[in-house]
């Protein structure tokens, strides 16, 4: 009677993942190392075989490594890109089986139960993996076993296949650190004389648990198969792209809009399922003569409402040259941001949405980076008492301080003739001769010494509000440390 298929796990370990990734682009035979700055010291993060042969090792200070090996080539490490690369490999590994998980920073674990025969047996499968990895420029070590723990141990401590059944026979000669133990624990075990897995398996269990806690025997049991251990396969990241191929080419704007509307409806359903909203959308229109045209739409807010997005495409699509007709439409959300469902409140938010839509439409014409809003900032310096932020990437904030009278507009300081700490009686400004009618002040503003500012090099400023007899109300300042008068703004 058939009693199921024995579980088989493959563990792949990429011992030099980070440096191999970089060397794929810049191949070299010379010693090579990646450096990572940790605790203010550049240390070696990953290195190639040649560098290892010269006696360098991981975690070594970079300056020492340079002393050992003067012709060492180096590159800064990018752990984030390495992680992304590992996820690319994970996706690639689904060609062997559907059940692939990531093991730590530099390994993969595959549950190949039932898919081995498709590749002609385990040996052939591992040979295939190795062949493809060598061709891709990656060094890999593989281990195959009945359990995840056994495969892990074999991949890292004695490459090989454990025949199905007795895991202890395959693992017994390996050191105890092959059981995924912490460094302290494996050192402590070695001090007790338990150097190999075989020794550990023979030792009485109760004293070990009392001494080391339950983790040690859990790891041992997981490796030998007495305790089950699962593999968490990672889901593919959601793909926000939809397309439509047409049996006959189309060319009229309403037809294209209709097509885009159908795609948008599908795309927005996908976005809704992921609680996300599109920030940048891109429509690719393929013409019958194989020419491709793209229309990009950058939204002022993440959106997933087809009725609001569609009208904003109209301007871009109207500029498309359909030629002999368009036979494929592709819509992709190239940038997606989280957009959680929001409570519908009794306060209507319709007008808010209308302003955002307006900003999006204006952004298609002049670029979203040219549309700003003001945000309050905490500074006494007039130029720095507010921030100019892109309206599409900021939320309105309140908290404006209007205790001090401030001019409605500012310009870069314009010098006027005047001497002494009191405002001049008469002065010329912008080819107008003005007479001071009333002067209010001074209000002293000191530069912020913690920020370097070219304009405030002249030291403290005494600001005066000068009302001229001619009508203009100006904001003048005097710089006592570097005598001179300037006009800086105008009041209402």
């Amino acid at each position: 009677m058939f009693d199921g298929m024995p579980r088989r796990i493959v563990s792949l370990w990429f011992p030099r993942l980070a440096s191999d990734r970089v060397l794929r682009q810049h191949p070299t035979d010379a010693p090579f190392a990646l450096t990572l700055k940790q605790n203010n010291l550049n240390r070696i993060y990953c290195l190639n075989r040649e560098a290892m042969r010269q006696g360098l090792h991981r975690g070594m200070p970079y300056s020492d490594a340079r002393a050992f090996c003067p012709d060492l080539k180096s590159h800064p490490a990018e752990p984030r890109k390495d992680r992304d690369f590992l996820h690319v490999l994970r996706r690639w590994a689904t060609r062997y089986c559907p059940w692939v998980g990531v093991e730590g920073e530099d390994g993969l674990v595959l549950d190949v139960t039932g898919s081995v025969h498709l590749f002609g047996g385990e040996d052939a499968m591992i040979a295939d993996v190795r062949h493809r990895m060598v061709r891709a420029g990656l060094s890999v070590q593989a281990g195959v076993g009945d359990t995840r723990g056994a495969a892990w141990a074999l991949a890292r401590y004695g490459e090989g296949l454990a025949p199905p059944g007795d895991m202890l026979a395959a693992l017994k000669a390996l050191p105890v650190s092959a059981l995924r133990l912490s460094d302290e624990m494996s050192v402590a075990l070695q001090r007790l004389g338990l150097r190999r897995i075989e020794d550990l398996a023979k030792a009485p269990r109760a004293p070990l648990t009392r001494r080391f806690g339950p983790d040690l025997l859990l790891r041992l049991d997981q490796a030998l198969g007495a305790q089950p251990e699962g593999i968490t396969p990672l889901a593919d990241p959601p793909h926000y792209g939809v397309r439509m191929t047409l049996p006959d080419p189309i060319g009229l704007l309403p037809d294209v809009m209709q097509g885009v509307e159908r795609l948008l409806t599908k795309l927005c359903a996908k976005l809704k399922a992921q609680d996300a909203g599109a920030r940048v959308l891109c429509v690719t229109l393929r013409r019958v003569d194989q020419d491709c045209q793209q229309v990009e739409l950058r939204l002022a807010r993440p959106l997933r409402d087809p009725h609001r997005i569609l009208p904003m495409f109209e301007r871009g699509l109207a500029e498309i040259d359909a030629g002999f007709g368009i036979d494929q439409l592709r819509l992709e959300a190239t940038r997606v941001e989280p957009l959680p469902a929001q409570q519908v409140s009794h306060v209507t938010t319709r007008d808010k949405g209308r302003l955002d839509d307006l900003i999006t439409r204006l952004g298609t014409r002049i670029g979203l980076e040219n549309i700003h809003r003001f945000l309050p900032a905490d500074s006494h310096i007039p130029e720095r008492s507010f921030l100019i932020a892109p309206a599409a990437y900021s939320a309105p904030e309140s908290g404006w301080d209007f205790n001090q009278p401030r001019p409605v507009c500012l310009f870069s300081p314009e010098p006027v003739a005047g001497t002494g700490p009191y405002p001049p009686e008469r002065f010329r400004w912008r080819r107008m001769s003005l007479t001071t009618g009333r002067a209010t002040g001074p209000e002293r503003i000191a530069p912020e010494w913690w920020l370097e500012d070219e304009n405030w090099r002249s030291g403290v400023r005494d600001y005066w509000r000068v009302e001229t007899v001619q009508g203009r109300r100006l904001w003048l300042f005097y710089t006592p440390q570097n005598p001179g008068w300037f006009v800086h703004g105008e009041f209402a």
Binding site: D351, L358, I371, F374, R406, V408, L410, G471, A492
Partner: protein, 184 residues
Amino acid sequence: MRHPDLPFFPPRQGCTHELCGAGAFTFAFVLAARLGGDVLWVREAWDRVQINPNGVARFFDPSHMTICNTSDQKETLAIAEEGLRSGAVSLVVMTLGKPLGLTEGRRLQLAARDGKGLGLAIIPEAMGSNAAQTRWRCSPVFTAEDSTLQKWELIKNKSGTLGVWHVRWDAASHRLIVVSPAGK
């Protein structure tokens, strides 16, 4: 809700109006405070005059203001037209440097009528367009006792008489006060 002493303020909705003079910004801010809602301010990117939101806060909340920087006057007009037509903002202010043709002026009027918005074009002196509904010249006035007095002259009006008013803005009560010009 017109001011009894200031019959043409706020100017008619659904139209574009013109402003000139040194106090044009003040007029625009007072109007924005009166209308409420969002303001779209369209200016050319090279313009060195920077609106100071801390000063604007005496009139209305600067977070209701959206600034568009454009590369030239043609773009300014296109943005203003789009903003007026959308009806999403209650006031569109544009600063113009070159004279406006009749076609462009008329397009702004039609856009304002479609969106039921209000447009303000801040123009240099004597460069008005015939299409404007009204044109105001605003200038600050010096008096010994008051420091916010403004003189607003209505110098063109398609549907009414012209006039001159002296006004001041009361920041505490957020009200426009019409002052009878004393001694004149």
